[in-house]
Amino acid sequence: MNKIIKEYVDKLPNKILLDVESALPEKCVDSKIKKIMEEMYKEYLYSLADPGESVGLVGAESIGEPGTQMTLNTFHFAGVSELNVTTGLPRIIEILDARKKIKTNMMELYLKKECSGSKNVKKIAEKIKEKTLESYTKEVIINVADMKMIIALYPKELSEADLTVGIVSKILGKSFKKFKFKVENKLLTVISSSKDDALKEMYKLKEKIKDTHISGIKGISQVLPVKRGNEYVIVTAGSNLKEIMKKDFFDSERIISNDLFEIEKTFGIEATRQLVINEVVKVLDAQGINIDIRHIMMVSDAMTMSGKVCGINRYGIVKDKPSVLARASFETPMNHLFDAALIGEEDYLNSVIENVMINQAVPVGTGLPGLVIKVK
């Protein structure tokens, strides 16, 4: 490293020093480098948050205000009407609340080089798509006289998925133990084993049986091969990282899901932190809203700093606040007060809300410094 740049090792972050070094022209006079570094240092100090600046509130306002302009529309993939994604405000709320069940799970699956041909992609996509009985069913007839339900299946679709009527009847038999499944003339025949209410049961089954999982990976309801650059990506609706990672034709280093908890389970908390940032930025970009990424990074840090994903709500980061009064002022005050009283909790009145409550100067901005005078 350059001698002059080295002087700034303690003053500037390493990344900035390296960036400056690589950007410098090969022959540069020392005095010029000195000047650059001085400018750099000044700029760096400018961009630091001042002591006592309420970064959290400024962040909340910076995200909240443009949030009011967001439209509530869901974005559709051109051509495929079923594959729609939650965007806009609902998606932001979903992410920041760290919802366990999100409205539209999605995965982006990159393929390994050797399987990324366009023909392969379609085949793989079809293979991982979850298929229920309904997609193989041609017709369902209930024979009231014989108390039988006859299900006709498409033979072509079955053979494409390496299935036979026999296999299907075995799968169904496992999930519906009350009924007997048989194969008669290549037709699936269902007989109820219970005597009373057999017809009613049969009608109920007719609805239920449609959704039985037959083939593919559970949870993946839609697949859509998309060309990105010069390779194909399979975008899926529904997410199941655990099963996908078992398949060897995917490039496991680039697989991504939009489910915070799945990412946390499979890739860890650091990945989740980045996912929160990426997903929020993705929504904001789609809406044409420009928010300084540092606000979002801070939110993401707050959500993940405890090592697990915490939503910004009373079950998440508010629960971890050290102050009883701060927690009580957010939601369900009684519970917080009783819990605190049981263990004799102490509140040191260190943060903003408590001081607003007792009407003392909040320890932020002008309320932070104190003046100490030594009396002789």
Binding site: S54, E346, V356, N359, T366, G367
Partner: protein
């Protein structure tokens, strides 16, 4: 096999759903089935659903067979002569009522020239697709859909002649427009609903121009001369009801002028309008704090001693008085009995509202705005023929909202006004703009509605020609005089010692959660503290047990009720709301111990 459901209950199977539905509909048209039955075959789920229950919205349509409506010119002639009635048309199956479900399978032609071979129905009138208030918008087919619904929303808030017997009615919060007018640019709905009997606006001369920057942000400028001549003047009526209620133990409210020894006696001045019976006289001019009906009530809680001693001293004052900012003239006084047989006094107050800065007006196209200035007549711009507008509307309201009908109405209004006739602006079948322009030209005016105008202040000719015409404007019920409010100091709540809420109680304007956040975000902690000082108190705290101590102001000492006289007691400044919270915590058996230490 198709399942059939009758009122959402499974009824059976049929083989041929199309024939089945057709048969039901045919029998309905022939009068064998009630006209309120609707039936539909849902092809997607392969079900037939028949509905006969109440509560479904249905609408009439003309039945079409083989691309020809069953209702012919012949029938219309008969209808005109009253030989045929609407109910006959329904009975004969020419008109039928469809619900939302049956409409799903119908192909309804919008107008006669849109009829196709497959059409099953025809709209009675294209106007039918709109609601009532929306069809009041003239030239509505030139507007953006959103503006139509906004325009109709605004019309519902307009002040008009709401009822002919208003004089003997006691309604809550009503407004009555003086000199209401029938619109020059009217629609079919205005005619059919006899709008001339209950109009709710006035035809104003409107100039589309800016005036000294006073019409920024949709504000409108109004002519003081017009206002003085009674333009958009209205009366606001508000009743006050008092009932002589009976209580347990034979006690009863008493309507009378309260005695001086009654609990909570106001001042003699406040009762000055009351007559001997304790009720105000009509045409009395009352203001803030004046009592309208004098009343005393028995005490709320009786203790054993007082129970037999019902002298007036234990009774309390419960008169009805005007609240902060209210004023008016007593219009009408009635004395009756209510359902329970109690004496009931109703007093109606009236207040004349003259248009002033802040009153809200709108045209029929969702172009609402508030008055920003009332300009003296001599300063109003005038045209070459000496016409002065009643109202000046900002042209900046037009491009982004695209309310073309607003401008066409202005032109049509001008034409109708000059020609001495009403112009038909019914949506989809209005008079043509081209014809209106031609008529205007024939009347000796510029066909585009623009005129040369002169600055009212300097007398100079404006460089631009001004679009001026006549249009129907509505005064909306939101008037500033019912809303203005400010406070520097005033009453506080007993419980929290914070300022009271609401205009009627002379309340403060709340600095809420989000407003607080802005102070914190700016780092102005001490400003924030000062803002929240409205309930500041100094509380003596015992340093031993951390509870609130007692201050004996006569002896000038403080002592702790728990630890006694000798404990150390410090005065702490805090918000009264926090002190209250500590008390409430004690009441739910939580011990909120305050640990005191020096701040620095």
């Amino acid at each position: 096999m198709t399942d059939v459901y009758l009122n959402n209950k499974f009824a059976g199977n049929i083989k041929n759903p199309e024939d089945f539905v057709e048969r039901i509909i045919n029998e309905r048209r022939m009068g064998k089935l009630p006209i309120t039955i609707n039936c539909r075959h849902n092809k997607k789920s392969d079900e037939v659903r028949i509905e006969s229950s109440g509560g479904r919205a249905v609408r009439p349509l003309i039945v079409v067979k083989n691309g020809k409506p069953l209702l012919s010119e012949k029938h219309i002639e008969q209808l005109k002569k009253n030989d045929l009635l609407w109910s006959d048309l329904v009975k004969q199956g020419m008109i039928e009522y469809l619900d939302a479900s049956e409409e799903e399978n119908a192909l309804v032609a919008f107008s006669e020239d849109e009829l196709e071979e497959e059409s099953t129905h025809l709209e009675v009138n294209p106007l039918d697709i709109l609601g009532l208030a929306t069809s009041f918008v003239p030239f509505g087919h030139y507007n953006h859909g959103v503006r139509l619904s906004q325009g109709s929303k605004n019309q519902k808030q307009a002040i008009g002649f709401y009822m002919a017997n208003f004089y003997i009615r006691i309604d809550m919060d009503v407004n009555l427009l003086h000199y209401p007018q029938y619109p020059i640019v009217k629609t079919l709905t205005h005619e059919t609903l006899k709008y001339e009997k209950h109009p709710s606006g006035q035809n104003l001369i409107v100039a589309v121009m800016s005036y000294e920057g006073y019409n920024m942000e949709d504000a409108i400028v109004i002519n003081k001369g017009s206002v003085d001549r009674g333009l958009a003047r209205s009366t606001y009526y508000r009743p006050a009801n008092v009932e002589e209620r009976r209580y347990s133990g034979g006690l009863i409210d008493d309507v009378s002028i309260p005695d001086k020894d009654v609990n909570g006696f106001r001042s003699e001045e406040d009762y000055k309008f009351l007559e001997e019976d304790g009720i105000i006289y009509p045409e009395a001019k009352v203001g803030e704090g004046d009592v309208i009906i004098g009343k005393t009530s028995p005490p709320r809680f009786l203790n054993a001693l007082e129970e037999f001693d019902l002298t007036s001293s234990s009774r309390r004052e419960s008169s009805v008085a005007l609240k902060h900012g209210e004023r008016g003239i007593v219009d009408f006084v009635t004395l009756t009995e209510n359902v329970e047989g109690n004496k009931l006094i109703q007093v109606r107050l009236r207040d004349q509202k003259i248009p002033e800065i802040g009153d809200k007006f709108t045209s029929r196209h969702g172009q609402k705005g508030v008055i920003s200035i009332v300009v003296p007549e001599e300063d109003i711009p005038f045209s070459a023929s000496g016409i002065k507008p009643d109202l000046i509307f900002s042209p900046h309201g037009i491009p982004s909202r695209m309310t073309m009908a607003h401008m066409i109405e202005l032109l049509a209004g001008k034409t109708g006004c000059l020609a001495g006739r009403k112009v038909d602006g019914t949506i989809f079948s209005s008079e043509k703009e081209k014809n209106l322009r031609k008529e205007l030209l024939d009347l000796g005016f510029s066909e585009d509605g623009c005129e040369t105008m002169y600055n009212g202040i300097t007398g100079e000719k404006y460089k631009a020609r001004i679009f001026i015409g006549n249009m129907y404007y509505l005064k909306l019920k939101h008037m500033v005089s019912n809303k203005v409010h400010s406070r520097a100091r005033g009453p506080i709540q007993l419980l929290t010692r914070q300022p009271t809420e609401g205009r009627a109680n002379e309340g403060g304007l709340r600095l809420g959660e989000m407003e607080k956040d802005t102070f914190v975000a700016h780092g102005t902690s001490l400003v924030l503290k000062e803002r929240f000082d409205s309930d500041k108190t100094i509380v003596p705290i015992c340093e031993v047990c951390g509870l609130i101590a007692i201050n004996d102001s006569r002896k000038e000492t403080s002592f702790c009720p728990v630890c006694g006289e000798n404990s150390e007691i410090s005065n702490v400044e805090m918000s009264y709301a926090f002190k209250l919270m500590l008390d409430e915590m004690k009441s739910i058996t939580i011990y909120p111990k305050l640990k005191l230490k020096g701040k620095y």
